[in-house]
């Protein structure tokens, strides 16, 4: 039996899908939200579990295993790829239940790199056009931070009080100032005071494992209650989208889903389809949606779907600051990363990197592995040095290259019979230059800091630290892009894609806030179009 006809089917409930769903429900549309995963309730989160609370002490990913069900196994392949991996979480809320919530605005220059630096392409949207949506999103989700007066890291107007710096971060700020680098309070979708019926953070330090009180923004904790209140939301969990179906004219008519629990395939009918599955799964879904009117896959007359996969290249460093060694233990967990070193070389694309600081928590003293030696002296040093621990990760821009791509393998299917995505990715010369510049800065920092350094960013980068973008890029030229600046398919007017796959380029900044701003803008556009009777 065919489903009721919904106004909108939103596929994926992460950062993009949560915003679109809430906005369209509030705008009066009947929305069905299709999520491949299932709800993990806050009381099931293993956020506060100490290592001994888990059989393998967390070494078998027990803290987050509920977010990664077993049917994800063997459902992706990397071919001729450098050291990259993508996060394919499967849970209601997507990565908003498993994130550090760093929310940084792209700058005007980040959207015009072709014009300003001669690299990549310009976005089909300017900062001035995006800025009002950043304002609204920041107000909607609750963001702590400061206006630090940095042109390349534009600030919002509605920030909650900023997080303080820890002692190691004060020392970092003092010692790397001669390099021209600043240490600022990080901007996070984390409540430093009660806001929008959500409580303030309690600083347990385990944001990545799910926030049990929703002090960190998540779709289930923040957007779904609002969407439900409208009476317009239908939530369908365990609904894996196999294909977007089209009518004879090539317009989207609904989504074919497979129920992960029963294995049954059904058709969900909708007037508008919004895809929010993130770069890999979104490209996979479109490429798996072939029809006589769309023989190359949906929204793909340009042939760009799956291409221009990009994201972040990263490398980590660890050290023990001498100044703090031997100090008595203190509670350093806080809100995980509480500060950020924004990009400071803004003249060349080679400066397109920033550093995130102390984002790994202190519950698992994994870093002791990197201290040399053994015996009583080793044990004493681990104890004495712990108070001085400081870790950082460099996050570097990766350029958008057409041959870095996602395809699907029709001969290899996942547990539900859907062709799997295949990732092919190589870092290009410019990516390596940017990474090398970051690494050079990391080494220079260690010269400025009086510290016992136990790990430096490796010679070769790894990607994408869960920050993958591209594969369904937006643009003004229909032959070179899949979407217009409202995230609407050039080919299929009632099809939208609003996740990170829309990004024409990446900057060094975390992508989520921009994903949300684009989603909000697309939702506004859909609402207006519906009012005019166009969709």
């Amino acid at each position: 039996m065919p489903s009721p006809l919904y106004d909108v089917a939103v596929i994926g409930s992460g950062a993009a899908g949560g915003i679109v769903t809430k906005e369209l429900c509030e705008g009066g549309a009947k929305v069905i939200l299709l999520e491949a995963g299932a709800e993990v309730k806050p009381h099931q989160f293993r956020t506060h579990c100490m290592p001994e609370d888990m059989a393998f002490r967390g070494y078998r990913n027990e803290k987050q295993e509920l977010f990664y069900p077993p049917d994800l196994k063997d459902s992706i392949r990397y071919e001729q790829s450098d050291n990259v991996s993508v996060d394919r979480i499967r849970v209601l809320g997507g990565r908003t239940v498993h994130w550090n919530a760093v929310v940084l605005r792209y700058s005007a220059a980040d959207l015009r790199e072709h014009t300003l630096q001669g690299i990549d392409v310009d976005w089909p949207i300017s900062y001035d056009e995006l800025s009002p949506y950043y304002d609204r999103i920041e107000k909607m989700i609750g963001v702590c931070g400061n206006d630090d007066g940095i042109e390349t890291l534009p600030a919002g107007r509605n920030y909650l009080p900023a997080l303080p710096l820890r002692c190691s971060e004060h020392i970092l700020r003092r010692d790397i100032a001669p390099m021209g680098a600043k240490v600022i309070s990080v901007r996070k979708a984390l409540l430093t005071k009660a806001y929008d019926n959500r409580p303030a953070c309690h600083y347990c330090g385990h944001c990545m494992d799910g926030c049990d009180v929703s002090a960190i923004y998540s779709t289930p904790g923040s957007m779904l209650p609002k969407a439900r209140r409208t009476g317009n939301l239908t939530l369908r969990q365990n609904a894996l989208a196999r294909e977007i179906l089209v009518d004879k004219t090539g317009r989207a008519r609904g989504v074919s889903i497979i129920d992960r629990l029963t294995g049954k395939e059904e058709e969900v009918r909708a007037r508008i389809v919004v895809v929010c599955c993130a770069s890999i799964e979104t490209a996979r879904l479109l490429l798996n949606s072939k029809s006589p009117t769309h023989p190359q896959g949906l929204a793909n007359s340009s042939g760009v779907v799956g291409r221009y996969l990009h994201g972040h290249a990263t490398g980590q460093m660890q050290m023990y600051l001498k100044e703090l060694q031997g100090k008595p233990p203190s509670n350093q967990d806080g809100a995980l990363d509480q500060c950020l070193i924004p990009r400071w070389d803004t003249k060349s694309y080679r400066g397109s990197y920033d550093f995130q600081v102390n984002y790994q928590g202190y519950m698992f003293p994994f870093q002791a592995r990197n201290l040399r030696g053994y015996g009583s002296d080793f044990k004493r040093r681990v104890r004495d040095m712990q108070s001085g621990f400081l870790m950082m990760g460099g996050y570097c821009k990766v350029t958008a290259h057409p041959d870095n791509r996602v395809t699907v393998d029709p001969d290899k299917k996942d547990a539900h019979g859907i062709p799997i995505p295949v990732v092919q990715f190589r870092f290009r010369d410019m990516d390596k230059e940017i990474y090398a510049a970051m690494r050079h800065s990391a080494l220079t920092m260690t010269e400025h800091l009086k510290a016992d350094v136990t790990a430096l960013p490796p010679l070769n980068p790894s990607g994408f630290a869960s920050h993958e973008n591209g594969t369904v890029r937006m643009g003004s030229d229909k032959t070179l892009s899949a979407l217009n600046s409202y995230c609407q398919s050039h080919d299929v007017k009632n099809l939208f894609v609003t996740d990170g796959s829309t990004f024409p380029t990446s900057s060094e900044k975390n992508p989520t806030l921009t994903i949300m701003a684009l989603s909000l803008r697309a939702a506004d556009y859909i609402k207006q179009s519906r009012k005019r009777g166009e969709l």
Partner: protein, 176 residues
């Protein structure tokens, strides 16, 4: 072994931390089975290997005046659990590694064999040197994730319910 919240609270109250910053120890709400090594029965290492492993791990993280060491923290049992449920490759590497230590220790004291292997830590050349990396990593991972290692030895006081973000309270650093 259920999460030892009482032990944890006892340790917390024994620290010099002002009580107003610690509202309560936060509960583990998850449903994962807890680590239970007190009654652990070895399934992978033979009694001989187990004895050797205990000696080696206790040499790597020994008991001292500050706290008990790897043996008291049941790190050998932790290793048996991880290796027995791990990969075939890890199982053969651990069998071979322990055998190499046992052989070397027939002609010289175990302490001397370990010292020699540890000398190669920066750039392991021999089988013993390479196995030392795995052995030490397992010992560190097991010890510092035990309640004994993380609480008693390191004095971890995070994972708490605080009313404000912990910043820096050192006057000499705050002004930077």
């Amino acid at each position: 072994m259920q999460p030892e919240r009482r032990t944890l609270l006892k340790i917390l109250s024994a620290t010099a931390l002002p009580l107003d910053t610690v509202q309560a120890a936060i509960q583990c709400a998850g449903t994962a089975p807890a680590s239970d090594l007190a009654n652990y029965k070895f399934v992978f290492f033979t009694p001989g290997e187990q004895a050797l492993l205990e000696n080696l791990m206790e040499l790597i993280i020994p008991s001292d005046a500050h706290s008990p060491g790897a043996k008291a923290a049941r790190v050998p049992a932790f290793a048996d659990l991880l290796i027995s449920t791990g990969t075939d490759r890890a199982r053969s590497a651990w069998k071979a590694g322990l055998a190499a230590f046992a052989t070397a220790a027939t002609t010289q004291p175990l302490e001397a064999v370990l010292a020699k292997a540890a000398d190669e830590e920066a750039s392991p050349q021999s089988d013993l040197g390479r196995f030392f990396i795995d052995l030490k990593r397992m010992t560190v991972d097991g010890y510092y994730t035990s309640t004994l290692g993380i609480m008693q030895e390191l004095g971890y006081i995070g994972n708490q319910h605080l009313t404000s973000a912990p910043g820096c309270d050192h006057p000499e650093h705050k002004g930077n």
